[in-house]
Point group: C2
């Protein structure tokens, strides 16, 4: 398959809609996170270079660098999610005629499930970074584009929540309780903080729009 993110948006969406199991929810999550990061960059770009916001410009420039990096990571994760899903599915096609083959196949599936969990986990972490950027930009960015910052926060948290479902479905197959527990604890923490960050950003936006 050619690179998913090099496809026209209309064609990527058609691929997502098709019965091909990848791209799926993980790719959709990464793309939503990339939309959030792009909106964070936009707020930076419409803040930098304006005399009114000169005081916060050094910080906004740093936020822009990070937003660009987060967007590129999420674009790479769209590809990774499809790749890892396809390798995961390949494990199910391993031979299972003998007992030795059966146990090798099960071990391969469990190991692939961990790899398949790691990609949406990375999507969750990157989306959380996008959310932190959005929240800060709602506070210090150009208030003329505060709703774009609010949209960035909403989409970043949505991407994180979608990614969490895609991690969780893979954890069911790892059979590694310790690993699963650590990953789920990290995600629960991100989800909890994300709720607060989004609420803060939207409360400020609502106040400005009043």
């Amino acid at each position: 398959m050619s690179k998913l993110t090099e496809m026209k948006s209309v064609d990527f969406l058609a691929a997502l809609a098709s019965s091909a199991p990848a791209p799926g929810g993980g790719g959709g999550a990464a793309m939503a996170g990339a939309l959030a990061a792009a909106l964070a960059s936009m707020v930076c770009n419409l803040t930098i270079g304006k005399e009114k916001f000169a005081q916060q410009e050094p910080e906004v420039k740093e936020l822009l660098d990070e937003a660009e990096e987060v967007r590129q990571s999420l674009l790479a994760l769209v590809e990774d999610d499809a790749a890892v899903f396809n390798s995961f599915m390949a494990c199910y096609k391993l031979p299972k005629a003998t007992e030795a083959e059966k146990s090798a196949r099960i071990a391969a599936i469990r190991s692939a499930a961990k790899q398949a969990a790691e990609v949406p986990l990375a999507i969750a972490r990157a989306s959380y970074r996008a959310l932190m950027l959005a929240e800060r930009l709602v506070c210090i960015g150009n208030p003329g584009v505060i709703t774009d910052g609010a949209c960035s926060a909403i989409l970043a948290r949505a991407a994180l929540r979608c990614a969490e479902y895609n991690v969780r479905i893979n954890l069911g197959l790892t059979k590694d309780e310790e690993y699963n527990h650590g990953v789920q604890a990290e995600l629960n923490n991100l989800l909890k903080n994300a709720e607060e960050l989004e609420a803060g950003a939207l409360a400020l936006t609502d106040k400005v729009l009043e």
Copy 2:
């Protein structure tokens, strides 16, 4: 500008990230809604044609038709949002040397603000339709892809919430209290129902993943 949705995803995201004010939050909302609709189609396509789900197949086929239609509408709205924003900005460049010019300019801005509110309002309505589809598919679709249905629900509600901010910022400029009141009442109703639909879909998904 060439059609935004015909651009490569990576280039659309770069355009969103740039200092060009369109595409902005409205386009991001419509694209997130299109991701949600595409995931709803995917769940349909992985349910239809499987003997196990034969009983619900007629309904799922109808849901697929609607999901395809909603995705196409949202793709068109990505373009509309940028177009209407650009016409809106053009009003600010109208002459304002005489009193007559001044009042003609203000009338043009107010009328353009209504048009600029109508597009994200349409994005909100289409995203809500995507959410209704996602919720139903979580209930009757192939449970093997229930997390894709959950992601569809999360992204659809996020798109609706983003669209609402983009309507609201334009309502501030219409100076038409009756119009604003009607639109805001409709949106508040969609937002309230959306919260319940999403919560229902995720509660069911959580139960299946347990």
